[in-house]
Symmetry: C2
Subunit: 141 residues, 2 copies
């Protein structure tokens, strides 16, 4: 991070670096993010409808790869962003963390009260996964 | 994929499955995608400004993690999507592939003619990376 010149700090690519507070605010306001995890040895990205809860990223899932990554308490990446092609502006926040199944019935009851409804509702998504962030960073163009 | 009922095919989550042609058309029309790769053992997602060229996803980068993943001919994930919160609709296309440095000067000359200008232009991005897709799939909500 280059903080020697005036203006907001920038990274080695010349992008403005967001503060942790800004990153958290952006995480609080988005609905859709993308999770990356290792599936049979290869990185896979999938979009998820999520909410923040007690500092964790939480989402619902049916059985499948997303849940399997969580069950193995795997390292995951998570990303949100927003872009405006008209003036080529935008921002992104990336999170590195650990995914876990949520198993405690009391906590699941709490999560159900967040009002998180998956956009696709043709299949029940009764399993909850949390991502516990280890690292949060953000950039703005 | 469930093709037994009428209507478009759906996956195990109940999402509509896009055809390969639809996926390719969507890849041709977007400007920003996200690449996922393994960085020090953990999955990392980064947004990139990209173009399609001869069936490959190409983007420019300065030195750093994105290029290092390419130099190791690493397996990468790539994703594009578009969402409309007002009617909770959207789609995503995910690609699994191999990243490579582009080194042939004649090919770099071709790539420069694609008109791909990174949105952030404060730092020169003189290195080109291609992703050679192995798998392409898409879903619509």
């Amino acid at each position: 991070m280059d903080t020697s010149s005036s203006g907001p700090p920038t990274d080695h690519s010349g992008l403005e670096v967001l503060s942790l507070d800004e990153c958290r605010q952006l995480l609080d306001t988005q609905q859709i993010g993308r999770i990356a995890f290792i599936s049979t040895g290869e990185p896979l990205i999938l979009p998820v409808t999520y909410r923040m809860h007690r500092g964790h990223i939480v989402f619902r899932t049916t059985t499948g790869e997303k849940l399997d990554a969580a069950r193995n308490a795997a390292s995951v990446g998570f990303e949100i962003d927003e872009w405006d092609a008209s003036d080529q502006s935008g921002w992104s926040v990336i999170v590195g963390g650990t995914a876990q199944d949520v198993e405690d019935p009391a906590e699941i009851t709490e999560l159900k009260e967040l009002g998180l409804r998956p956009w696709a509702d043709t299949v029940a998504r009764n399993n909850w996964v949390r991502i516990i962030p280890n690292e949060i960073s953000g950039r703005r163009i």
